[in-house]
């Protein structure tokens, strides 16, 4: 990794070779991780199902109902899905009390929950990475600001600040909500990145780059960040898994996604009272939240093992 010392052109070449072999190793380990592969499959299936079935934006879905249209309640709204022999029936997930098709509702909820979660993940990761690496590299005031800010944030329970932010942003649609939530939960990731950068900046290849007068921006983006990629990707994944749960909890408490938007947590909250008479209204969104969060957690685990196989290596 000390390739950058002599010739900048050769260095680029050297770096890519190192990066590729490293990347190949990581990829191989990831694709051999069974739980992660299962998680990836389930997650992709859910994403495809949610976005194609009831349509998204200008695109129409293939499912016959949408989430707004009411209808007559058939057979008490019981789900018609049977697994063996497999058949969807008219309303596979049942209907609510005004006859809305619950499959359409859950799919719409899944779409929006996924969107919020990914938005939160992207925002938190970007901000956390930027602030973390800047403060780790430059120390001085950037670091002081980040550290003080995290000190403050650590005394505030995430749910408290997220609830307040949700209350402020929830009415403005899911995009705003996702962005806003991302902006309050980045410090955890920022601290992580900072710690990693702190240890990297003392390493020889960074010192060498500094010694030959490489500009800080280049050092951060070319030398330091690529080496923190593993930890960033892993925490981004886990942040998304947590964001799914956070969003659903906020929506459950009534301070997250607001009607007319629909999210999985909001569905559970909305139909909580129907637990005794129509339990499926409670089950389906719950199952989807768990499936999504579990898949993402498994993917995160696979990525962690792939990037840092230390934990399962035999000691020599």
């Amino acid at each position: 990794m000390t390739l950058s010392v002599s010739a900048p052109s050769g260095d680029a070449q050297g770096m890519t070779i190192v990066a590729r072999t490293q990347g190949q190793l990581v990829r191989r380990r990831f694709f051999q991780h069974k739980a992660a592969m299962a998680g990836l499959t389930v997650l992709l299936a859910i994403v495809v199902l949610a976005f194609t079935s009831v349509g998204f934006g200008p695109f129409d879905g293939w499912w016959k109902y949408n989430w707004t249209q009411t209808g007559t309640v058939v057979n008490g709204g019981q789900p018609t899905l049977t697994l063996w022999p497999f058949s969807l029936g008219e309303h596979p997930f049942g209907q609510d009390n005004v006859g809305k098709d619950y499959f359409a509702l859950v799919m719409r909820g899944a779409q929006q929950s996924l969107l919020v979660a990914f938005l939160v993940g992207i925002v938190a990761t970007t901000v956390g990475t930027l602030v973390g690496s800047l403060s780790g590299y430059f120390r001085k005031w950037t670091e002081a600001v980040l550290m003080r800010w995290t000190d403050v944030m650590i005394t505030i329970p995430v749910l408290l600040i997220a609830a307040i932010v949700g209350r402020m942003a929830g009415g403005s649609g899911i995009i705003v909500l996702g962005l806003a939530l991302g902006l309050v939960i980045w410090p955890q990731l920022g601290r992580l990145v900072r710690g990693e950068v702190l240890s990297l900046r003392e390493r020889e290849f960074v010192e060498a780059a500094r010694a030959i007068g490489t500009r800080p921006r280049r050092i951060i983006f070319k030398h330091i960040l690529p080496n923190t990629l593993g930890i960033i990707i892993v925490s981004a994944t886990l942040t998304i898994a947590n964001a799914i749960l956070l969003e659903s909890a906020l929506s459950f408490l009534g301070v997250g996604v607001q009607p007319p938007d629909i999210s999985l947590g909001q569905l559970i909250s909305f139909y909580q009272g129907a637990m005794l008479t129509r339990p499926w209204l409670f089950w389906w969104p719950g199952v989807f939240i768990i499936a999504i969060a579990l898949s993402i957690n498994f993917i995160g685990d696979g990525l962690r093992d792939a990037f840092d196989p230390r934990q399962n290596r035999v000691r020599a």
């Binding site: 947590g265 579990l294 934990q311």
Partner: protein, 502 residues
């Protein structure tokens, strides 16, 4: 140490202060506090809006309102909510229930999580390890509110119904016994035969035990009785000695057995003496127990005095706990009758206007705490399990563990003395982080179980854009987090002599 605490508190005050600004301003900006009145059509609408504006000082800019609130806080006044009720009074009612919930959940999660994590690490790649890992992932992915609703629905309601005729169905006995057998089998190392034996014993013991509970309808009128207390106490004595002192030398074992003996003898007379105790009296008794056990350990320990004191004190405390449990369980059937046969509560943090002796009141809180605590434990249980597992695995690979083995120390000492303390060092940094998460979880749990706790106060304040209750919630929880943080730091410094508190 004092200097450290003072300094930390000083810094924390500023941190909390900064946090209050953020929260106050954001809450005040989060909506229109007059929104509901604007919708109203009644003739006194204007008047109501005027009253509320005045009470909430809506005429002055938010920073000024904040300063007014801060001034009130510094003189010990938490202000009024928008209906004019004193926040201090609301808080007073809400505080103890919520703190009980949060502390109970944190302590239980730590105890269970760390134990399971350590066992899982010591049995890496066993069936037990894989199962625990998988369960942890499930727990990481379960929405708390969903679980809470499930517990309320299926555990509380079904359990109460079942209690009318507490006979355990044979299929349930079979399944639970199998699970018990599988757990023991998975925990056993060694040959296939050893595992099968463990499986058989684990399953058989569970089956006999459950059948006994079912046949005697134990759940209708539970209790332990002197015999069971005695068995458990002597079992604890042997187990604790084996773990903390080893059975090689007699001193510690005798001390622990003596503690168990004294406890068992007392268990026959204690219920008569503890008709309506207070917590303070019980605490005094606990101190007395510890003192007596220290004496026993000292007298009987011989050259292994230290280990003997540890073993006898732990045995004594566990036995005292058993006696307490017994008394509490004995009060159960009467309590159950008063609750008209539905003792496990699903709503609120206690039964309104409930009167009774110490045991009745304690049972009342316990039955209300049970389900929310179970739900809330989920938040941190998996975290503690995963962290302590990872930490133990790391530590077991360290050179000093190898050195400890090379001295000829028994594996027990290597783990309990050398690995455990080092393994717990990173866990301390988790405590404060986790505690904040549990407080957030408490808000959700309280909401599901309809507690009029602090979470309710906070949510109500937030919905109505009313900063005073929100701030009161934060002052208490933020303060608790700061204190928790400090305790964690002190624990850290205690565990790791390389760290100096200064």
């Amino acid at each position: 140490m004092i200097a450290f605490i003072a300094r930390r508190l000083g810094i924390s005050v500023f941190v909390l202060l900064a946090a209050t600004i953020i929260i106050y301003v954001m809450t005040a900006l989060s909506g229109d506090p007059l929104a509901d009145l604007r919708q109203e059509q009644g003739p006194d609408r204007e008047e109501k809006m005027r009253v509320r504006s005045e009470r909430m000082n809506l005429d002055v800019p938010i920073p000024v309102r904040y300063l007014q609130w801060l001034g009130g806080l510094l003189s010990g006044d938490l202000g009024v909510n928008r209906e004019g009720q004193s926040v201090a009074i609301i808080l007073g009612n809400a505080l103890s229930a919520t703190l009980q919930l949060v502390v109970a959940a944190t302590v239980m999660a730590m105890l269970i999580g760390i134990t399971v994590g350590i066992i899982s690490a010591l049995r890496q790649y066993s069936g037990f390890d894989y199962t625990v890992t998988f369960m942890a992932f499930i727990a990481f992915s379960l929405p708390l509110f969903w679980l809470a609703v499930m517990l309320k629905q299926y555990i509380a309601i079904e359990f109460n119904t079942w209690l009318r005729d507490p006979v355990i169905d044979p299929p349930v006995i079979v399944v639970v016994s199998l699970i018990s057998g599988l757990t023991w089998g998975a925990l056993t190392v060694g040959t296939q035969k050893a595992r099968l034996t463990s499986f058989a014993i684990g399953a058989a013991v569970a089956a006999v035990f459950l059948t006994f509970l079912s046949a005697t309808r134990w759940f209708a009128d539970p209790g332990l009785g002197t015999v069971v207390i005695g068995l458990l106490a002597f079992g604890t004595a042997v187990g604790v000695t084996a773990l903390f002192a080893g059975l090689q030398y007699r001193g510690p074992l005798y001390a622990a057995l003596a503690a168990a003996g004294v406890g068992t003898a007392l268990s026959a007379v204690m219920p008569g003496l503890l008709v309506d105790p207070t917590w303070l009296e019980l605490f005094g008794l606990l101190l007395l127990t510890v003192a007596v056990c220290v004496g026993l350990g000292y007298a009987l320990g011989g050259l292994q005095r230290r280990q003997a004191v540890t073993a006898s004190v732990l045995t004594g405390v566990v036995t005292a706990g058993l006696i307490f449990m017994d008394a509490l369980l004995n009060a159960f059937s009467a309590y159950s009758r008063r609750m008209r046969g539905r003792p496990i509560a699903t709503i609120g943090s206690n039964t309104p206007n409930f009167r009774g002796d110490f045991w009745q009141l304690t049972l009342d809180s316990a039955t209300h705490l049970l389900l929310p605590t179970m739900a809330l434990i989920l938040i941190s249980l998996a975290t503690y399990t995963r962290y302590s597992r990872a930490s133990m695995l790391e530590v077991m690979n360290q050179d000093y563990v190898r050195t400890a083995r090379a001295k000829g120390l028994p594996e027990r000492t290597v783990i309990v003395k050398h690995a455990f303390r080092n393994g717990m060092i990173p866990i301390t940094t988790l405590i404060a982080f986790d505690f904040a998460g549990v407080i957030g979880g408490a808000v959700v749990t309280e909401s599901v179980f309809g507690w009029k706790g602090m979470g309710n106060m906070f949510l109500e304040g937030l919905r109505t854009v009313d900063p005073a209750p929100v701030m009161a919630f934060f002052i208490v929880t933020g303060g608790a987090i700061v204190i928790c943080n400090m305790l964690a730091d002190i624990l850290y410094a205690y565990l790791d002599p390389r760290i100096r508190l200064s």
